[in-house]
């Protein structure tokens, strides 16, 4: 996990820093925005935006957000 105080995660689609700047907040931002570019980015990572969303809706916990947060972390540009 990134340290949000020193190394905020920026949305790979719109460049926005969500709330604390953590990857999970970035994932929340991507689901919350949910517009075509954000959906397409998620799908391009080999995930299904809508399946993740439905899973988040129908099962307890934050599994879908965490899956997307992990992908966001992995795809962050290396310094």
């Amino acid at each position: 996990m990134s340290d949000p105080t020193n190394d905020p995660v920026i949305c790979p689609v719109c460049g926005k820093k969500a709330k604390t700047g953590s990857a999970i907040d970035c994932a929340r931002h991507m689901f919350g925005t949910g517009d075509k570019p954000h959906r397409e980015w998620v799908n391009a990572q080999g995930l299904s935006f809508i399946d993740l969303l439905i899973d988040q809706a129908t099962t307890p916990g934050n599994a879908s957000y965490q899956i997307l947060a992990d992908v966001i972390e992995k795809t962050r540009p290396k310094k």
């Binding site: 689901f31 919350g32 949910g34 809706a57």
Partner: protein
């Protein structure tokens, strides 16, 4: 007989907190108040709307040539006569603007407007509808959100996969860790029904478009400014060329601040024909073609410690959004926020999903998502207390908000009187003594906002504004953009203005509901007017007063302007109240001193840095005494008690009226008002079959008014009248739980549900479970 008690009365004001009758009361009871229905303009035509009989269908062709042959028919409009603009209140979020009031290509619910006729009489217009031939290609429909998100469900709007319209996520704290700390976790699913707004005045509009390309619209709405801006947008006009007048409005309750068919179709017909066109909805049209309270499916998981300390809560909500977004996206957010109220959660997580279906669109309605939230939350809390063997009142109290509490990342609670609400409800319960065998008491708590901070409308204007002008005879013109819809806001503003200026309520003339003469205001929704327009009014009045006192100061020789005050029309030195002069004399001197220029005070209010939701929150507790007929399952409300923290009341009479009205609407939601659909068709669109609560079914509505002081409100005032729509349904459910041990998970609770629950309980008991 209702009982009314005041706890913590503040120091006396001259006007505020006295009993003031509604300033429009006489005009209303003598029949002189002019509603849209009463408007008659020269050359006016009457419009009627043809509606879709299908829940989901493509419009292939509309042929209205036969209708035009009927004598007295002047014109017909269809979607092709419009600019085809998808409209909505979400000017900042274009994706959510998804509704063409007269659709061009597709209908998505039964009752959706398809064409409109203008004729010399209403009867001819009605007849002409039968002669409009519409060719449809009927599509498969889907009516429940949990069906609409399935993979094979029909697509209602293009580009919204699985028909998910809007999602909302709220989270604070380490939710899973907080659940780990819990010693008891409970999960439940709930279903909350829709509810019709049931305004006594149905949707109504008269539009008049002139060759000068100016449009005047008389309409029954909750925000003249919204209507002006929205209509200008869909008609391709400048805002300033559209005038909206909404002088008297017979109720709104959240349903009348979006565009509706009456306004839009009358305007389009008027533009085509250059004649004024009036459209008044029938009661049936109001049922089937105007938006409703949002039905919801709620999953709630709550974790607590054995001593009743709340740890964590998770909620997942699917709302039946119907065919279009309307205000439902805000209801989706607010239901998630208020589901946490009025308690402190170490970890809280909410995921809300608004789903398109082929039913009537759902939108805001008094309580704005909170009645559904409290129906689920407050019943589950009661069941948890029973499971743990704890006192439900003390368990609630232990976990409640308090003054200064911060809802993490969301809101700061500047005033909170819920602790005293618990005391008052306990006293009422104790006063009831032993109840008859068929009766029981249920209670429920909640909190609510005093106006939303959201600016999804993307207006550059302040949220509220007011202008005070003083005439040479001492009378005062108060211009506000707030909309009087029967809730008494004009009276409230007259009181605030009179108090601030130091004159009598009878000296104030309030002007509202006319965009040509009143400043912009976001209108009557979310309990915002007392706090927001109240602040603007107070500021405008104080500005005018300061200007007047500058003249008084100049002639009095006192040290500073603030040594002077005005009370009851008497301008005087504060330390020597006998030294002074009449208000009207000062006004005349001030006018002469300013070369005849009028004294004008301006005020405005837009909340800044007040959290995510609202500048202030009210708190309340609802108790109900319920009687049940075990043979029929019929519920009777026998008595009720409301303890309400409303900050500083502005008008006692208005406050009582608002609380009684909210209670009756909430009670109807709890056990009477049911909207059954079959294949997208509402089965009871009339006042006989839709069981609205009647006066004979209303129990006494006893009220304990808890006066706190809200720093953000005018004179310390905050919400009263919308919040009380929230707890009552759950209180009824809790009374049933205490009487029978049954857990009602669907709202409204209907007699057959009680009988079935009792039967199921007996069967389980017989099986020894």
């Amino acid at each position: 007989m209702n009982k009314y008690t005041v706890i913590n009365p503040h120091s006396k004001f001259t006007v505020l907190n006295t009993h003031v009758h509604n300033i429009d009361g006489v005009a209303k009871v003598t029949g002189r108040a002019e509603y849209t229905f009463d408007i008659k303009l020269p050359g006016m035509l009457y419009g009627k709307i043809l509606r879709s009989p299908h829940p989901h269908a493509k419009i292939l062709n509309i042929d209205y040539s036969r209708a035009m042959e009927i004598p007295g028919v002047y014109g017909v409009v269809t979607g092709k006569d419009t600019l085809g603009i998808k409209q909505g209140i979400w000017r900042r979020y274009k994706d959510l603007c998804d509704e063409q009031i007269l659709p061009v290509d597709k209908v998505r619910y039964i009752g959706e407007p398809v064409a409109a006729v203008a004729a010399i009489t209403e009867e001819i217009a009605e007849k002409a509808l039968d002669y409009i031939d519409v060719e449809y290609e009927v599509l498969q429909g889907v009516y429940e959100p949990l069906d609409a998100i399935k993979k094979d469900a029909p697509e209602i709007h293009e580009g919204f996969e699985r028909n998910i319209n809007v999602t909302r996520h709220i989270e604070w704290g380490e939710v899973e860790e907080a659940f780990d700390e819990a010693e008891y976790v409970r999960e439940d699913w709930f279903k909350c029904g829709g509810q019709a707004h049931m305004c006594m005045e149905t949707r109504a509009a008269v539009s008049s478009y002139t060759p000068e390309k100016k449009m005047t619209i008389y309409s029954s709405n909750q925000s003249a400014y919204y209507m002006q801006a929205l209509m200008a947008g869909v008609l391709g006009m400048r805002e300033g060329d559209v005038r909206v007048i909404a002088q008297y409005v017979g109720g709104g309750f959240g349903g009348k601040f979006e565009l509706d068919g009456a306004i839009f179709c009358s305007a389009i017909l008027s533009m085509k024909l250059f004649r004024p066109v009036k459209i008044i909805y029938t009661r049936e049209e109001d049922f089937i073609a105007t938006k409703r309270r949002t039905p919801m499916f709620y999953y709630v998981r709550t974790g607590v410690k054995k001593d009743g300390t709340f740890c964590a809560r998770e909620a997942k909500v699917f709302t039946n959004g119907g065919a279009y977004t309307g205000m439902g996206a805000t209801a989706l957010y607010l239901t998630g926020f208020f589901h946490s109220f009025p308690y402190r959660w170490k970890g809280y997580r909410y995921d809300g999903y608004r789903v398109y279906t082929n039913t009537l669109p759902s939108t805001s309605m008094r309580g704005f998502g909170a009645p559904q939230a409290m129906w689920c939350s407050e019943q589950q809390i009661e069941w948890i207390a029973a499971d743990l063997g704890l006192d439900p009142i003390e368990m609630r109290r232990k976990n409640s908000h308090y003054e200064g509490y911060e809802v993490p990342g969301q809101a700061t609670i500047a005033s909170c009187g819920i602790d005293q609400c618990y005391d008052e409800i306990k006293k009422w319960i104790a006063s009831k003594g032993k109840l008859p065998a068929n009766r029981s008491i249920g209670l429920s708590a909640c909190g609510f906002m005093s106006g939303g901070i959201f600016n999804w409308f993307d207006t550059p204007y302040s949220f509220s504004s007011a202008v005070v002008t003083i005439n040479q005879d001492g009378t005062v013109e108060l211009h506000i953009g707030a909309q009087e819809i029967g809730q008494g806001s004009n009276t409230t503003m007259a009181i605030i203005c009179a108090e601030a200026l130091g004159v009598k309520v009878g000296d104030i003339k309030v002007h509202s509901g006319d965009t040509d003469h009143c400043p912009a205001d976001l209108g009557a929704w979310g309990s915002r007017q007392t706090l927001m327009t109240g602040n603007a009014t107070k500021m405008a009045a104080e500005s005018a007063k300061k200007q007047l006192l500058e003249f008084a100061y100049a002639q009095s020789g006192l040290n500073i302007v603030y040594d002077l005050d005005i009370k009851d029309g008497w301008v005087h030195a504060i330390a020597r109240p006998e030294r002074g002069e009449e208000f009207v004399q000062l006004v005349r001197k001030a006018l002469r001193g300013k070369d005849g220029q009028r004294i004008v005070g301006r005020g405005y209010y837009t909340p800044h840095r007040k959290g995510m939701i609202s500048p202030a929150y009210s708190y309340m507790l609802q108790g109900v005494e319920v009687e049940v007929d075990e043979e029929t399952g019929k519920i009777t409300l026998v008595d009720s008690m409301t303890a309400h923290d409303c900050g500083q009341p502005i008008n006692h009479l208005g406050l009582i009226g608002q609380l009684e009205g909210a209670f009756s609407m909430a009670a109807g939601y709890g056990y009477l008002e049911y909207m059954p659909y079959e294949d997208g068709k509402l089965m009871n669109p009339n006042l006989v079959d839709y069981k609205m609560i009647r006066s004979t079914e209303m129990p006494p509505a006893n009220i304990a008014e808890i006066d706190t002081y809200e720093p953000e409100g005018p004179y310390g005032a905050k919400e009263a009248g919308e919040g009380l729509t929230n707890p009552t349904a759950a209180a009824i459910g809790n009374a049933l739980f205490h009487r029978f041990g049954i857990q009602m998970k669907e709202c409204p609770v209907r007699p057959e549900m009680i009988l079935n629950a009792l039967k199921e309980k007996k069967e389980k008991e017989a099986q020894g479970k």
